[in-house]
Symmetry: C2
Subunit: 193 residues, 2 copies
Protein backbone atom coordinates (compact mmCIF):
# COMPACT_ATOMS: atom_id res chain seq x y z
CA UNK A 1 0.00 0.00 0.00
CA UNK A 2 1.22 3.45 -0.88
CA UNK A 3 1.97 5.62 2.13
CA UNK A 4 -0.25 8.64 1.97
CA UNK A 5 1.67 11.92 1.95
CA UNK A 6 0.57 14.61 4.35
CA UNK A 7 -0.95 16.47 1.46
CA UNK A 8 0.53 19.86 2.19
CA UNK A 9 1.43 20.40 -1.42
CA UNK A 10 -1.86 19.12 -2.76
CA UNK A 11 -4.13 21.53 -4.53
CA UNK A 12 -7.79 20.75 -4.72
CA UNK A 13 -8.86 22.32 -7.96
CA UNK A 14 -12.51 21.68 -7.16
CA UNK A 15 -12.23 24.39 -4.55
CA UNK A 16 -11.74 27.06 -7.12
CA UNK A 17 -14.96 26.19 -8.85
CA UNK A 18 -17.17 26.47 -5.86
CA UNK A 19 -18.37 29.94 -5.29
CA UNK A 20 -20.95 29.71 -2.57
CA UNK A 21 -20.24 27.26 0.18
CA UNK A 22 -22.05 26.73 3.41
CA UNK A 23 -19.71 25.83 6.22
CA UNK A 24 -20.93 23.08 8.45
CA UNK A 25 -19.95 23.08 12.09
CA UNK A 26 -18.64 19.55 11.75
CA UNK A 27 -15.10 18.61 10.92
CA UNK A 28 -13.20 21.79 11.54
CA UNK A 29 -15.56 23.92 9.49
CA UNK A 30 -15.26 21.77 6.40
CA UNK A 31 -18.35 21.62 4.19
CA UNK A 32 -19.85 18.26 3.31
CA UNK A 33 -18.72 18.72 -0.26
CA UNK A 34 -15.16 19.52 0.78
CA UNK A 35 -15.07 16.51 3.07
CA UNK A 36 -16.23 14.20 0.30
CA UNK A 37 -13.89 15.73 -2.26
CA UNK A 38 -10.95 15.23 0.08
CA UNK A 39 -12.02 11.67 0.77
CA UNK A 40 -12.15 11.02 -3.00
CA UNK A 41 -8.68 12.51 -3.40
CA UNK A 42 -7.39 10.36 -0.55
CA UNK A 43 -8.96 7.18 -1.95
CA UNK A 44 -7.36 7.96 -5.29
CA UNK A 45 -3.96 8.55 -3.71
CA UNK A 46 -3.98 5.23 -1.86
CA UNK A 47 -5.47 3.60 -4.99
CA UNK A 48 -8.56 2.38 -3.17
CA UNK A 49 -11.17 3.76 -5.58
CA UNK A 50 -11.59 6.16 -8.48
CA UNK A 51 -14.52 8.39 -7.61
CA UNK A 52 -14.84 11.89 -9.03
CA UNK A 53 -17.14 14.82 -8.64
CA UNK A 54 -18.86 15.95 -11.80
CA UNK A 55 -18.08 19.62 -12.33
CA UNK A 56 -21.01 21.98 -11.82
CA UNK A 57 -22.57 22.50 -15.24
CA UNK A 58 -22.44 26.09 -16.38
CA UNK A 59 -24.44 27.59 -19.20
CA UNK A 60 -21.98 29.81 -21.05
CA UNK A 61 -23.68 32.69 -22.85
CA UNK A 62 -20.87 35.04 -23.84
CA UNK A 63 -17.16 34.51 -24.38
CA UNK A 64 -14.65 37.24 -25.16
CA UNK A 65 -12.07 35.61 -27.44
CA UNK A 66 -10.05 38.79 -27.66
CA UNK A 67 -9.19 38.25 -23.99
CA UNK A 68 -8.11 34.60 -24.10
CA UNK A 69 -11.53 32.93 -24.08
CA UNK A 70 -12.73 34.89 -21.08
CA UNK A 71 -16.29 33.95 -20.14
CA UNK A 72 -18.17 37.19 -19.48
CA UNK A 73 -21.72 35.91 -19.12
CA UNK A 74 -22.74 32.55 -17.77
CA UNK A 75 -25.12 30.90 -15.33
CA UNK A 76 -24.92 27.97 -12.96
CA UNK A 77 -27.12 25.04 -13.97
CA UNK A 78 -28.57 22.24 -11.94
CA UNK A 79 -26.82 18.90 -12.19
CA UNK A 80 -29.15 16.61 -14.13
CA UNK A 81 -27.59 13.51 -12.65
CA UNK A 82 -25.78 13.11 -9.34
CA UNK A 83 -22.64 14.79 -8.09
CA UNK A 84 -20.34 11.77 -7.74
CA UNK A 85 -19.62 8.55 -9.57
CA UNK A 86 -16.81 6.13 -10.12
CA UNK A 87 -15.50 2.62 -9.60
CA UNK A 88 -14.87 0.76 -6.35
CA UNK A 89 -14.04 -2.92 -5.90
CA UNK A 90 -14.86 -3.43 -9.56
CA UNK A 91 -18.37 -2.01 -9.18
CA UNK A 92 -19.93 1.15 -10.59
CA UNK A 93 -20.86 3.50 -7.77
CA UNK A 94 -23.02 6.63 -7.94
CA UNK A 95 -24.17 8.96 -5.21
CA UNK A 96 -25.53 12.33 -4.27
CA UNK A 97 -24.52 14.31 -1.18
CA UNK A 98 -26.99 16.57 0.60
CA UNK A 99 -26.84 18.59 3.75
CA UNK A 100 -29.72 19.84 5.88
CA UNK A 101 -29.79 22.23 8.82
CA UNK A 102 -32.94 20.49 10.10
CA UNK A 103 -32.53 18.08 12.98
CA UNK A 104 -35.56 15.81 12.72
CA UNK A 105 -35.96 15.10 9.02
CA UNK A 106 -34.44 15.32 5.53
CA UNK A 107 -36.73 17.14 3.06
CA UNK A 108 -37.19 15.35 -0.27
CA UNK A 109 -37.37 18.75 -1.94
CA UNK A 110 -33.57 18.67 -1.81
CA UNK A 111 -33.61 16.03 -4.54
CA UNK A 112 -34.62 16.62 -8.16
CA UNK A 113 -36.78 14.25 -10.26
CA UNK A 114 -33.80 13.94 -12.66
CA UNK A 115 -31.64 12.61 -9.86
CA UNK A 116 -34.33 10.13 -8.87
CA UNK A 117 -34.61 8.84 -12.44
CA UNK A 118 -30.85 8.64 -12.73
CA UNK A 119 -30.44 6.63 -9.53
CA UNK A 120 -33.26 4.27 -10.48
CA UNK A 121 -31.47 3.61 -13.76
CA UNK A 122 -28.17 3.00 -11.96
CA UNK A 123 -29.83 0.38 -9.77
CA UNK A 124 -31.50 -1.28 -12.79
CA UNK A 125 -28.09 -1.55 -14.45
CA UNK A 126 -26.46 -3.18 -11.44
CA UNK A 127 -24.64 -0.23 -9.91
CA UNK A 128 -24.37 0.82 -6.28
CA UNK A 129 -26.49 3.92 -5.60
CA UNK A 130 -26.81 5.87 -2.37
CA UNK A 131 -27.10 9.25 -0.70
CA UNK A 132 -24.82 10.85 1.83
CA UNK A 133 -27.10 12.91 4.05
CA UNK A 134 -25.61 15.29 6.55
CA UNK A 135 -27.49 16.69 9.52
CA UNK A 136 -25.38 19.78 10.09
CA UNK A 137 -26.75 20.57 13.53
CA UNK A 138 -26.02 17.05 14.71
CA UNK A 139 -22.56 16.83 13.16
CA UNK A 140 -23.66 13.52 11.63
CA UNK A 141 -23.53 12.21 8.08
CA UNK A 142 -25.24 8.99 6.99
CA UNK A 143 -24.96 6.69 4.03
CA UNK A 144 -28.50 5.83 2.95
CA UNK A 145 -29.13 3.31 0.19
CA UNK A 146 -30.88 5.01 -2.74
CA UNK A 147 -33.63 2.37 -2.78
CA UNK A 148 -34.86 3.63 0.60
CA UNK A 149 -35.03 7.20 -0.68
CA UNK A 150 -36.73 6.09 -3.90
CA UNK A 151 -39.31 4.24 -1.85
CA UNK A 152 -40.16 7.39 0.11
CA UNK A 153 -40.23 9.39 -3.11
CA UNK A 154 -42.51 6.97 -4.96
CA UNK A 155 -44.97 6.58 -2.12
CA UNK A 156 -45.33 10.33 -2.07
CA UNK A 157 -47.03 10.28 1.31
CA UNK A 158 -44.36 12.29 3.05
CA UNK A 159 -42.34 15.25 1.97
CA UNK A 160 -39.37 14.24 4.07
CA UNK A 161 -37.55 11.26 5.54
CA UNK A 162 -37.55 11.25 9.34
CA UNK A 163 -34.16 11.43 11.04
CA UNK A 164 -35.10 8.29 12.99
CA UNK A 165 -35.53 6.33 9.73
CA UNK A 166 -32.18 7.50 8.40
CA UNK A 167 -30.52 6.61 11.70
CA UNK A 168 -32.13 3.18 11.67
CA UNK A 169 -31.74 2.23 8.00
CA UNK A 170 -28.62 4.20 7.14
CA UNK A 171 -25.06 3.91 8.37
CA UNK A 172 -23.34 6.68 10.30
CA UNK A 173 -20.17 7.66 8.44
CA UNK A 174 -17.04 7.95 10.49
CA UNK A 175 -15.33 11.32 10.56
CA UNK A 176 -11.61 11.39 11.09
CA UNK A 177 -8.52 13.21 10.06
CA UNK A 178 -7.86 11.30 6.86
CA UNK A 179 -10.16 10.81 5.05
CA UNK A 180 -12.37 13.45 6.67
CA UNK A 181 -15.45 11.37 5.87
CA UNK A 182 -14.71 7.67 5.43
CA UNK A 183 -17.77 6.83 3.35
CA UNK A 184 -16.22 3.79 1.63
CA UNK A 185 -16.04 2.08 5.01
CA UNK A 186 -19.82 2.43 5.15
CA UNK A 187 -20.06 1.20 1.54
CA UNK A 188 -18.03 -1.89 2.52
CA UNK A 189 -20.36 -2.60 5.39
CA UNK A 190 -23.59 -1.99 3.52
CA UNK A 191 -22.88 -3.46 0.08
CA UNK A 192 -20.02 -5.91 0.43
CA UNK A 193 -20.77 -7.85 3.63
Amino acid sequence: MIKYPNGINKTYTEKKRIVVKRKSAANRGMSLEDSINKACEYYKDIDKAIITKRPTPINVVKVDYSRGALITQAYFEKQSTTDYNGIYRGKYLDFEAKSTYLKTSFPLANITPHQIEHLKAVIRHGGIAFFIIEFEGRLEAYLLDAAIVLDFWDKGERKSIPYSTIKEKGLLIERKYQPPLDYLKAVDEYYFK
Copy 2:
Protein backbone atom coordinates in the same frame (compact mmCIF):
# COMPACT_ATOMS: atom_id res chain seq x y z
CA MET B 1 -37.92 -2.52 -25.30
CA ILE B 2 -39.06 1.06 -25.32
CA LYS B 3 -39.72 2.45 -28.76
CA TYR B 4 -37.43 5.35 -29.31
CA PRO B 5 -39.28 8.57 -30.10
CA ASN B 6 -38.10 10.55 -33.07
CA GLY B 7 -36.52 13.00 -30.72
CA ILE B 8 -37.91 16.15 -32.26
CA ASN B 9 -38.91 17.51 -28.89
CA LYS B 10 -35.69 16.53 -27.20
CA THR B 11 -33.39 19.23 -25.98
CA TYR B 12 -29.75 18.44 -25.58
CA THR B 13 -28.65 20.69 -22.78
CA GLU B 14 -25.02 19.83 -23.43
CA LYS B 15 -25.23 21.90 -26.58
CA LYS B 16 -25.73 25.09 -24.69
CA ARG B 17 -22.52 24.61 -22.78
CA ILE B 18 -20.30 24.14 -25.77
CA VAL B 19 -19.02 27.33 -27.18
CA VAL B 20 -16.44 26.35 -29.75
CA LYS B 21 -17.22 23.31 -31.81
CA ARG B 22 -15.42 21.96 -34.81
CA LYS B 23 -17.79 20.46 -37.32
CA SER B 24 -16.66 17.23 -38.83
CA ALA B 25 -17.65 16.36 -42.34
CA ALA B 26 -19.04 13.06 -41.18
CA ASN B 27 -22.60 12.44 -40.18
CA ARG B 28 -24.38 15.44 -41.56
CA GLY B 29 -21.97 17.93 -40.06
CA MET B 30 -22.31 16.59 -36.54
CA SER B 31 -19.22 16.93 -34.37
CA LEU B 32 -17.76 13.85 -32.69
CA GLU B 33 -18.88 15.18 -29.32
CA ASP B 34 -22.43 15.76 -30.54
CA SER B 35 -22.58 12.29 -32.04
CA ILE B 36 -21.46 10.69 -28.79
CA ASN B 37 -23.77 12.84 -26.67
CA LYS B 38 -26.70 11.85 -28.84
CA ALA B 39 -25.72 8.20 -28.66
CA CYS B 40 -25.59 8.48 -24.84
CA GLU B 41 -29.02 10.09 -24.82
CA TYR B 42 -30.35 7.34 -27.07
CA TYR B 43 -28.84 4.56 -24.94
CA LYS B 44 -30.41 6.15 -21.89
CA ASP B 45 -33.82 6.41 -23.57
CA ILE B 46 -33.87 2.75 -24.56
CA ASP B 47 -32.41 1.90 -21.12
CA LYS B 48 -29.35 0.21 -22.59
CA ALA B 49 -26.71 2.07 -20.59
CA ILE B 50 -26.24 5.10 -18.36
CA ILE B 51 -23.28 7.00 -19.73
CA THR B 52 -22.87 10.73 -19.19
CA LYS B 53 -20.50 13.44 -20.26
CA ARG B 54 -18.77 15.25 -17.47
CA PRO B 55 -19.50 18.96 -17.84
CA THR B 56 -16.54 21.09 -18.89
CA PRO B 57 -14.97 22.39 -15.69
CA ILE B 58 -15.05 26.14 -15.45
CA ASN B 59 -13.03 28.24 -13.06
CA VAL B 60 -15.46 30.88 -11.81
CA VAL B 61 -13.72 34.08 -10.75
CA LYS B 62 -16.50 36.63 -10.33
CA VAL B 63 -20.22 36.29 -9.69
CA ASP B 64 -22.69 39.14 -9.55
CA TYR B 65 -25.28 38.15 -6.97
CA SER B 66 -27.28 41.31 -7.49
CA ARG B 67 -28.14 39.93 -10.92
CA GLY B 68 -29.26 36.44 -9.96
CA ALA B 69 -25.86 34.75 -9.61
CA LEU B 70 -24.64 35.95 -12.99
CA ILE B 71 -21.11 34.77 -13.67
CA THR B 72 -19.18 37.75 -15.07
CA GLN B 73 -15.64 36.35 -15.11
CA ALA B 74 -14.68 32.74 -15.63
CA TYR B 75 -12.31 30.54 -17.60
CA PHE B 76 -12.54 27.12 -19.21
CA GLU B 77 -10.40 24.48 -17.54
CA LYS B 78 -8.99 21.23 -18.81
CA GLN B 79 -10.80 18.09 -17.77
CA SER B 80 -8.48 16.28 -15.33
CA THR B 81 -10.08 12.93 -16.03
CA THR B 82 -11.90 11.78 -19.16
CA ASP B 83 -15.02 13.16 -20.78
CA TYR B 84 -17.37 10.21 -20.40
CA ASN B 85 -18.15 7.52 -17.85
CA GLY B 86 -21.02 5.36 -16.74
CA ILE B 87 -22.39 1.86 -16.40
CA TYR B 88 -23.07 -0.71 -19.11
CA ARG B 89 -23.97 -4.38 -18.65
CA GLY B 90 -23.16 -4.00 -14.98
CA LYS B 91 -19.62 -2.78 -15.67
CA TYR B 92 -17.99 0.59 -15.08
CA LEU B 93 -17.01 2.16 -18.38
CA ASP B 94 -14.79 5.20 -18.96
CA PHE B 95 -13.60 6.79 -22.16
CA GLU B 96 -12.19 9.82 -23.88
CA ALA B 97 -13.16 11.01 -27.36
CA LYS B 98 -10.67 12.71 -29.63
CA SER B 99 -10.77 13.93 -33.18
CA THR B 100 -7.87 14.56 -35.52
CA TYR B 101 -7.74 16.16 -38.94
CA LEU B 102 -4.65 14.11 -39.74
CA LYS B 103 -5.09 11.10 -41.97
CA THR B 104 -2.12 8.90 -41.16
CA SER B 105 -1.74 9.09 -37.39
CA PHE B 106 -3.24 10.16 -34.08
CA PRO B 107 -0.90 12.48 -32.12
CA LEU B 108 -0.48 11.53 -28.47
CA ALA B 109 -0.22 15.25 -27.65
CA ASN B 110 -4.04 15.21 -27.77
CA ILE B 111 -4.03 13.31 -24.49
CA THR B 112 -3.01 14.75 -21.11
CA PRO B 113 -0.89 12.91 -18.49
CA HIS B 114 -3.87 13.23 -16.09
CA GLN B 115 -6.06 11.31 -18.50
CA ILE B 116 -3.43 8.60 -18.87
CA GLU B 117 -3.16 8.19 -15.09
CA HIS B 118 -6.92 8.16 -14.78
CA LEU B 119 -7.38 5.44 -17.40
CA LYS B 120 -4.60 3.31 -15.90
CA ALA B 121 -6.41 3.51 -12.56
CA VAL B 122 -9.72 2.56 -14.18
CA ILE B 123 -8.11 -0.55 -15.66
CA ARG B 124 -6.47 -1.48 -12.31
CA HIS B 125 -9.88 -1.27 -10.66
CA GLY B 126 -11.54 -3.53 -13.20
CA GLY B 127 -13.30 -1.00 -15.40
CA ILE B 128 -13.56 -0.86 -19.17
CA ALA B 129 -11.38 1.95 -20.57
CA PHE B 130 -11.04 3.06 -24.17
CA PHE B 131 -10.69 5.91 -26.61
CA ILE B 132 -12.93 6.92 -29.45
CA ILE B 133 -10.63 8.32 -32.08
CA GLU B 134 -12.07 10.07 -35.09
CA PHE B 135 -10.19 10.68 -38.30
CA GLU B 136 -12.22 13.56 -39.60
CA GLY B 137 -10.84 13.49 -43.10
CA ARG B 138 -11.62 9.81 -43.45
CA LEU B 139 -15.09 10.03 -41.87
CA GLU B 140 -14.06 7.18 -39.61
CA ALA B 141 -14.22 6.76 -35.84
CA TYR B 142 -12.56 3.86 -34.01
CA LEU B 143 -12.90 2.34 -30.58
CA LEU B 144 -9.37 1.70 -29.33
CA ASP B 145 -8.77 -0.09 -26.02
CA ALA B 146 -6.98 2.24 -23.59
CA ALA B 147 -4.29 -0.39 -22.91
CA ILE B 148 -3.04 0.00 -26.48
CA VAL B 149 -2.79 3.77 -26.10
CA LEU B 150 -1.09 3.44 -22.70
CA ASP B 151 1.43 1.09 -24.23
CA PHE B 152 2.35 3.67 -26.90
CA TRP B 153 2.46 6.39 -24.25
CA ASP B 154 4.70 4.44 -21.86
CA LYS B 155 7.14 3.32 -24.51
CA GLY B 156 7.57 6.94 -25.47
CA GLU B 157 9.25 6.03 -28.75
CA ARG B 158 6.62 7.60 -30.91
CA LYS B 159 4.67 10.80 -30.59
CA SER B 160 1.68 9.36 -32.39
CA ILE B 161 -0.20 6.16 -33.11
CA PRO B 162 -0.22 5.24 -36.80
CA TYR B 163 -3.58 5.06 -38.50
CA SER B 164 -2.73 1.53 -39.63
CA THR B 165 -2.34 0.41 -35.99
CA ILE B 166 -5.66 1.93 -35.00
CA LYS B 167 -7.32 0.29 -37.98
CA GLU B 168 -5.79 -3.06 -37.12
CA LYS B 169 -6.21 -3.09 -33.33
CA GLY B 170 -9.29 -0.91 -32.99
CA LEU B 171 -12.85 -1.40 -34.13
CA LEU B 172 -14.53 0.85 -36.66
CA ILE B 173 -17.67 2.32 -35.12
CA GLU B 174 -20.79 2.14 -37.19
CA ARG B 175 -22.43 5.45 -38.08
CA LYS B 176 -26.14 5.48 -38.61
CA TYR B 177 -29.20 7.56 -38.05
CA GLN B 178 -29.90 6.49 -34.49
CA PRO B 179 -27.59 6.38 -32.61
CA PRO B 180 -25.34 8.52 -34.83
CA LEU B 181 -22.30 6.63 -33.53
CA ASP B 182 -23.12 3.16 -32.20
CA TYR B 183 -20.07 2.78 -29.99
CA LEU B 184 -21.67 0.29 -27.58
CA LYS B 185 -21.90 -2.19 -30.44
CA ALA B 186 -18.11 -1.97 -30.66
CA VAL B 187 -17.88 -2.29 -26.85
CA ASP B 188 -19.97 -5.49 -27.07
CA GLU B 189 -17.67 -6.91 -29.67
CA TYR B 190 -14.40 -5.95 -28.01
CA TYR B 191 -15.14 -6.52 -24.31
CA PHE B 192 -18.06 -8.91 -24.06
CA LYS B 193 -17.36 -11.58 -26.68
